[in-house]
């Protein structure tokens, strides 16, 4: 057996493709499946006929659909043609009408089964692809009956649809077809059989049944009237809550299941305020017959009903259920295991429920992605026929897969896809959101029936607890934060657990982990905290701000941390880091934790207490930041970066020795800004700094290009020195200019300590070209003295904070003595500059110590206008 899948593009393309296949009728039958989301009824038949002309021996079946499945993807608005060449196997196809043309009555199950048996079944039939078009209430019994007629024959398929996903009110728009025609009330079957053919069918739903059983006590057609003796719609509603009235889609989250098949959801629709007569128009002879059978019923009163897609019979038992991500994941893993291990995996058929796409769209994509590289082909259907525990049954909201083959073959699947479960969590939000809503009613004391309470409790037990450890999970934490005022959260994580696994065996790691979780859980229980297991090694402990003060919580957490550190010898020593966050919301917890983690890492602390407010900039500073960004942008664009110059006074001659250039920005109103206002912002937006700084450097250089007998100093940050364009400009400039010795470059030493090499080569280069170097802000920050001394600089500028204080503080004075002494001792030619010289007192002190140059308000203020 071999299967090719084609996307239909045009007849011509299809023709050439099919011809290339060189299909061999003599080898075995050829099955051609068409699932189309783009053709109308007659066009579809036309397409089938066209294929028949190319491959006359083909057995063609076709269905309409809302989306096709191909290569592990869901594709809207496409038509997929799947060609299966059998190796000795055979295929029988047929379309069986489900409605008597003459009487308009549905054909009985017996008749349909009989026809099917005679037309398609043979002794060695293994799998029947079955598609129903139109309303056939007896579909469930039909499928059930098939189990009796021919036990063990698997079925796959479903009720076809055609409409867009979402508009699935009624499925009558769907049709099935072959080369002879189409019908919207018929059953399409394709039986695959053969001696060597083996097939395996399975499914995944993600449904979890909970609570007790309800017996159907009354039913009419596909309408459930009574559950456990009471009105079915009311009973169903009490479990889920009144919100159902406004949000009918909730029925998909909380389906019912037959208690004998607890993982197969029965599609339920909640219809409001209708009468039976409206739902079952008596013009339809089938309905007339139904009513005739139940004269006791009140046809005309309008009320709420729950309806399904097949006839229900009194006596069967239902249970409540709900769908959630963890069950979906585990169901899919089991299913995938089976499929991967099936020996004769030559072809995979896959059919997914439309309801699944509606409520769990990410999930549908996720579960398909595992089959990405296989030849899976199928489509979306309304209800699926699945093979469960040896019996075929009608399901809803399921993902059904059949794998079939005649000889050994493996399909390439992608099990790694299963590890990306994040998107599923998003799907779960709808459910979580609804449960939270219910919880929040509880707070306001609205009256809730106990049945609903227990139902919700059961859902929560599944949803809000971690898989293996019975500890509340992240979803539970979010709910507590949101609804119960848990706004003090301590996040505990253990670093480097992956390296643990390299050295220790899995059992020891697990033992350690359990001991760790156990200690946290014990502690939380004893001290009235809530504990949450976020993932393997990450734990959160929560408290409400109205029961525990931050101080107490921090103290308790410190105690817990010590407790965790003191582990026994049999366990691996772990280093849990604790971060207590005050004032959490669901939104800010993660970002604040991330920033806190960075901080903890840089400070190498394992315990940290922070407030969410301190991590959020206040509005004023954000506004100011953007104002500065705008200002810088404006200045760059409008040539408003203005160099100011401040004279540097030669203490020996009493004249100006050189000028320091200082950057100023001017805004639209002519206000002048000095760098302390904008420099931090500019650095934060690195490119802004680069542009502004580059403009500044160009302007100053050009102004002094031809100047004689006057020098200027230019400030350079590490960022500038690392900037290739700026450096190239400077090197070129110095080599052209007549007096390169007039240019002094002031390097800010305290910015970045790992750039020594870059600085050294820059300094050498400048000296080579005849320029001069000055070390700026010497003595501020923690500059590496050894390195600074090593730079062969021409000037050394003592940091302003030292000069300012030199008359008041002896320490500052000592520092000046130290610097001057060092110069003398080392016989360096370096000249010393003092900035921030604000008064005579300071200047006198500086003169006393023999400082070469002074700069400051005492002498001059920075100005844009100097005579050069």
């Amino acid at each position: 057996m071999f299967t090719w899948n084609y996307q239909y593009i045009s007849k011509a393309r299809l023709e050439s493709a099919l011809k290339q296949l060189m299909l061999q009728t003599e080898k075995g039958d050829i099955l051609i499946r068409i699932h189309t989301a783009i053709h109308l009824e007659d066009e579809a038949v036309e397409l089938a006929r066209f294929i028949k002309t190319i491959v006359p021996a083909a057995k063609i079946v076709g269905t309409s659909t809302s989306a096709v499945i191909s290569r592990g993807k869901l594709l809207m608005n496409q038509c997929i043609i799947s060609v299966t060449q059998m190796d000795g196997g055979h295929v029988q196809t047929t379309i069986i009408p489900t409605r008597d043309e003459d009487t308009g009555l549905p054909i009985t199950v017996d008749n349909v089964c009989h026809t099917a048996q005679s037309r398609v079944l043979s002794e060695d039939t293994k799998l029947i692809l079955t598609f129903l078009a139109g309303n056939y209430l007896d579909i469930q019994s039909m499928v059930e009956r098939s189990n009796e007629c021919k036990p063990g024959i698997q079925m796959i398929g479903g009720i076809v649809n055609a409409s867009e996903i979402g508009q699935q009110k009624e499925c009558k728009a769907g049709f099935v077809f072959d080369e002879y025609g189409w019908t919207s009330s018929g059953l399409l079957m394709a039986a695959i059989g053969g001696e060597k053919v083996e097939s395996f069918s399975t499914y995944a739903t993600g449904v979890q049944a909970i609570g007790e059983e309800y017996e159907i006590t009354d039913a009419f057609g596909n309408c459930i009237l009574g559950l456990g003796g009471i009105d079915a719609s009311k009973e169903y509603c009490t479990g889920i809550g009144e919100a159902l009235h406004n949000r009918p889609e909730l029925t998909n989250l909380f389906p019912l299941v037959y208690s004998d098949m607890p993982d197969i959801p029965v599609p339920i629709r909640y219809v409001e305020n209708v009468s039976l007569a409206e739902m079952f128009p008596e013009e339809d002879p089938a309905n007339a017959k139904l009513f005739a059978g139940r004269p006791d019923l009140d046809k005309n009163t309008k009320k709420d009903y729950i309806v399904t897609n097949h006839s229900v019979t009194a006596g069967r038992k239902f249970r409540r259920a709900f769908i959630y991500d963890r069950k979906i994941i585990s169901d899919n893993r089991v299913m995938f295991n089976h499929i991967e291990n099936f020996e004769k995996a030559e072809t995979i058929f896959g059919y997914a429920g439309a309801a699944r796409l509606l409520i769990y769209s990410n999930c549908a994509k996720w579960e398909l992605s595992a089959y990405e590289n296989s030849n899976i082909c199928g489509c979306v259907t309304e209800g699926e026929i699945v093979f469960a525990n040896g019996r075929n049954t009608l399901a809803d909201c399921a993902f059904a897969v059949s794998v079939i083959g005649e000889k050994s073959q493996t399909q390439e699947c992608n099990p790694y896809a299963f590890s990306h479960t994040d998107s599923l969590a998003a799907d779960n939000q709808a459910l979580l959101g609804y449960l939270m809503e219910i919880e929040s009613y509880a707070g306001t004391g609205s009256n809730r029936s106990s049945s609903m309470r227990s139902f919700v409790r059961d859902c929560e037990l599944k949803l809000f607890y971690s898989e293996n450890d019975d500890i509340p999970n992240e979803a539970a934490m979010n709910m507590d934060i949101k609804l119960k005022g848990y706004d003090r959260i301590c996040l505990i994580s253990v670093l480097d657990t992956s390296s643990m696994k390299i050295v220790f065996d899995e059992a020891t790691v697990q033992l350690t982990r359990r001991a760790y979780l156990g200690k946290c859980a014990d502690f939380a229980r004893k001290h009235n905290y809530r504990m949450y297991a976020l993932d393997d090694w990450n734990v959160a402990i929560g408290a409400t701000s109205f029961t525990v003060s931050l101080q107490k919580m921090a103290r308790d957490m410190e105690f817990l941390q010590r407790e965790l550190f003191s582990s026994s010898e049999s366990l691996i020593a772990i280093v849990p880091t604790f971060c207590v966050i005050n004032g959490c919301t669901v939104e800010n917890l993660k970002p604040v934790y991330n920033s806190a983690r960075l901080l903890m890492m840089s400070k190498n602390t394992q315990f940290y207490v922070c407030d969410t407010r301190s991590f959020q900039s206040d509005e004023e500073s954000i506004r100011e930041r953007y104002r500065m960004v705008n200002l810088i942008n404006y200045a760059i664009a409008h040539d408003k970066i203005i160099p100011y110059y401040q004279g540097i006074h030669d203490n020996a001659t009493g004249t100006i020795h050189h000028y320091e250039s200082l950057m100023r920005l001017v805004d639209e109103e002519g206000n002048v800004y000095s760098p302390y206002r904008f420099l931090d912002v500019a650095r934060m937006y690195g490119l802004l700094y680069d542009s502004a700084s580059s403009i500044m450097i160009h302007k100053v250089c050009e102004r002094f290009r031809n100047a004689e007998g006057v020098s200027v100093s230019i400030n350079l940050g590490i960022r500038d020195i690392k900037n290739r364009d700026t450096m190239e400009y400077l090197y070129d400039f110095l080599s052209e200019v007549k007096h390169p010795e007039n240019f002094v470059f002031e390097i800010l030493e305290n910015e970045d300590v790992d750039a020594y090499e870059v600085i050294d080569s820059f300094v050498d280069r400048i000296h080579q070209l005849g320029g001069k170097i000055s070390i700026d802000d010497f003595g501020s920050g923690y500059s590496n003295l050894q390195h600074v001394v090593g730079i062969n600089s021409d000037f050394l500028k003592i940091d302003g904070s030292i000069i300012r204080k030199c008359c008041e503080s002896r320490e500052a004075e000592h520092l000046i003595t130290l610097i001057m002494g060092w110069r003398q001792l080392s016989n360096q030619k370096v000249r010393i500059v003092a900035e921030f010289v604000e008064n005579e007192e300071i200047q006198e002190m500086l003169m006393k110590y023999g400082i070469d140059y002074s700069q400051g308000y005492l002498f001059s203020r920075p100005t844009p206008d100097i005579a050069v």
């Binding site: 003060s549 302390y676 700026d776 921030f836």
Partner: protein, 580 residues
């Protein structure tokens, strides 16, 4: 190219006496308001109330030396000032400010309860609360004779309150004669005045006290005559201070309706420091009813109680814990309001579901326990609480259908009442205990600073090394290089430098090496060795006319009560061992 960002800003609070309740109230609210701002520090310069007329007794001299601390302001580089010096107003306001506090003018400043022309002031709307009280007394209680125990003539607020009092009586056509008024010094020493007032007006039905303090002697006088405040004579005070709730019976008092003086002052000061134009503020007041004058702040009906309306529970909390709303709260602490809501709503919820499980009951008890453990009683008095919750309890008893739930709810209520009364008595006991401990420690300090001929002589070093025995957990001792002498009539010339001798951080003493001590007075709050707190009180350390230095204390209730005493003891010890 060095740029300096903004440093931590320091706000000074200058007031007269940190140990009186009125000041504590202001300090507390200013402190909490300052804490809400980043990069802000509070320095309290605490003087002592000093009459304008200079007297020559010891007490007055002591006060004058002590008040030299005001002049530190010029050295401290404060960014803003809040002044509350009620006695300087009224008489000749501005001139006094000019003369005594000339330097205060340099920085942005706000005056609290102090009328000074041409400056920004914050004060209470004296009229609103007082009118509310008199309206209630006359219209509901049918009172026809009211008296007033008034304040000093030099106190503007006191004078205004008297005027409004007379006006209100006039509006109701009630008689007023000067006999019905008696002025006092506004302190607890006004017993003689209270005595005179009651003597003249034995038939008075209600007495308005110009502030809460004078109600204490009034209570004594009434009790001596066998009159019970609240039952026989209605009494109400002003300022709604904390201790008004601890009096027996708790004293009804007029206080801020919402924003307090301190909060508003900080708000205005910050705006002013940022260069904005600010206008003087008058804060609304209201009557806080307590047992000495029962008054419902909110009308609520039984029906309302049982409907589990969120707003209602919060309102009930505000009523029960009448001090809570006017105080700002640290968000590190237990949110009592929310906690109250939690257990009350759960108790009420049991009425709707007609059931309460044992677990739920235990949880409720736990929550109530936490509620009181975290100082709920600081915000009310037991009588008020018991009365309020009894109303709720009675209503619930009538409406409860499930007997089990009812029993449990009643047990919760009685637990609350027990806790309320226990908390109060516990506080009294604990207060005594603290006092005893403090005394023991102080004695320990004395012993260690005694001089004996055969051991090393006591020096500054010895004193610095024993500062942890003073019994205050967060302090720093700063001494001038040479003691300075106060000369009567001359402004004290503080030196510009000072030595930080030692600091005690959370009870842990650190004596600084001699070479590290010296610093500028202006920079003392930048020293990293200081205790880590965002508000300090500065108290001079002196003995007689000799000023040795300053004591910095973390500003809290305890340092307000004991700080001055500790500073005095330090001064005394230094003087005894002073070689000069």
């Amino acid at each position: 190219m060095a740029y300096y960002g903004e440093n931590k800003r320091t706000i000074g609070l200058i007031l007269e006496d940190i140990s009186v309740d009125y000041s504590k109230e202001i300090i507390h609210s200013v402190k909490m308001a300052v804490r809400a701002h980043k990069n802000m520090k509070l320095v309290v310069l605490a003087g002592i109330h000093d009459e304008i007329q200079k007297k020559e007794d010891c007490r007055s001299c002591y006060k004058r030396v002590h008040n030299s601390v005001y002049h530190l302001e010029e050295l401290l580089h404060l960014d803003g000032l809040i002044l509350t010096l009620p006695n300087i107003c009224g008489v000749s306001g501005e001139s006094i400010v000019d003369e005594r506090y000339s330097n205060f003018a340099k920085v942005p400043k706000i005056f609290v309860s102090t009328d000074v022309a041409d400056s920004t002031t914050v004060r209470y709307d004296n009229e609103k609360g007082l009118k509310e009280a008199i309206d209630y007394l006359v219209n509901v209680k049918g009172v026809t004779k009211l008296c007033m125990l008034g304040g000093r003539d030099d106190n503007g607020d006191a004078q205004e309150r008297k005027r409004i009092f007379i006006n209100c009586l006039g509006q109701y056509k009630l008689p007023y004669t000067e006999d019905m008024y008696e002025k006092s010094d506004m302190s607890i020493e006004a017993k003689a005045e209270a005595e005179r007032l009651i003597e003249r007006n034995p038939d008075t039905q209600a007495v308005f006290c110009v502030n809460d303090q004078v109600a204490i002697p009034l209570y004594e006088v009434l009790k001596e005559r066998g009159l019970m405040p609240g039952r026989d004579v209605y009494v109400f005070g002003y300022d709604n201070t904390r201790f008004s709730g601890t009096m027996i019976p708790p004293l009804a008092s007029i206080g801020a309706d919402g924003v307090t003086l301190g909060q508003k002052a900080v708000e205005l000061l910050i705006a002013k420091m940022e260069g904005q134009e600010v206008e003087s503020a008058i804060l609304p007041t209201r009557l806080y009813g307590k047992e000495s004058l029962e008054y419902e702040m909110y009308e609520y009906t039984t029906q309302e109680m049982l409907q589990l309306d969120t707003a209602f529970i919060y309102r009930m909390f505000d009523d029960c814990f009448y001090r809570y709303a006017s105080e700002s709260h640290d968000n590190d602490e237990v949110n009592l309001k929310r906690l109250f809501f939690e257990f009350i709503s759960r108790m009420l919820n049991s009425m709707i579901t007609n059931s309460m499980t044992m677990e739920e009951f235990m949880e409720l008890r736990r929550l109530i326990h936490i509620f009181f453990e975290n100082g709920a009683m600081r915000f009310t008095d037991p009588a008020r609480l018991v009365r309020s919750i009894e109303r709720l309890q009675n209503a619930m008893n009538r409406a409860q259908k499930s007997p089990t739930a009812n029993v449990m709810n009643n047990r919760c209520f009685s637990y609350m009442k027990d806790r309320a009364i226990m908390a109060m008595s516990g506080e009294v006991n604990a207060g005594g205990e603290v006092l005893k401990k403090g005394r023991e420690r102080l004695q320990d300090f004395f012993v260690h600073c005694m001089e004996f001929p055969w051991i090393e002589p006591v020096t500054e070093e010895t004193i610095a090394a024993n500062c942890d025995k003073l019994g205050l957990p967060n302090i720093a001792l700063l001494l001038f290089e040479k003691p300075i002498d106060y000369v009567e009539g001359k402004q004290v010339d503080f030196p510009k430098t000072i030595r930080l001798m030692c600091s005690v951080r959370d009870g842990e003493l650190r004596v600084l090496a001699p070479e590290r001590r010296l610093c500028q007075v202006s920079n003392i709050f930048e020293r990293t060795e200081l205790p880590k707190c965002d508000s300090f009180a500065v108290i001079p350390v002196f003995y007689g006319c000799r000023i040795y230095g300053l004591l910095l204390l973390e500003m809290n209730e305890e340092s307000a009560n004991r700080g001055e005493l500790v500073a005095d003891q330090l001064g005394r010890t230094l003087r005894i061992n002073d070689p000069t």
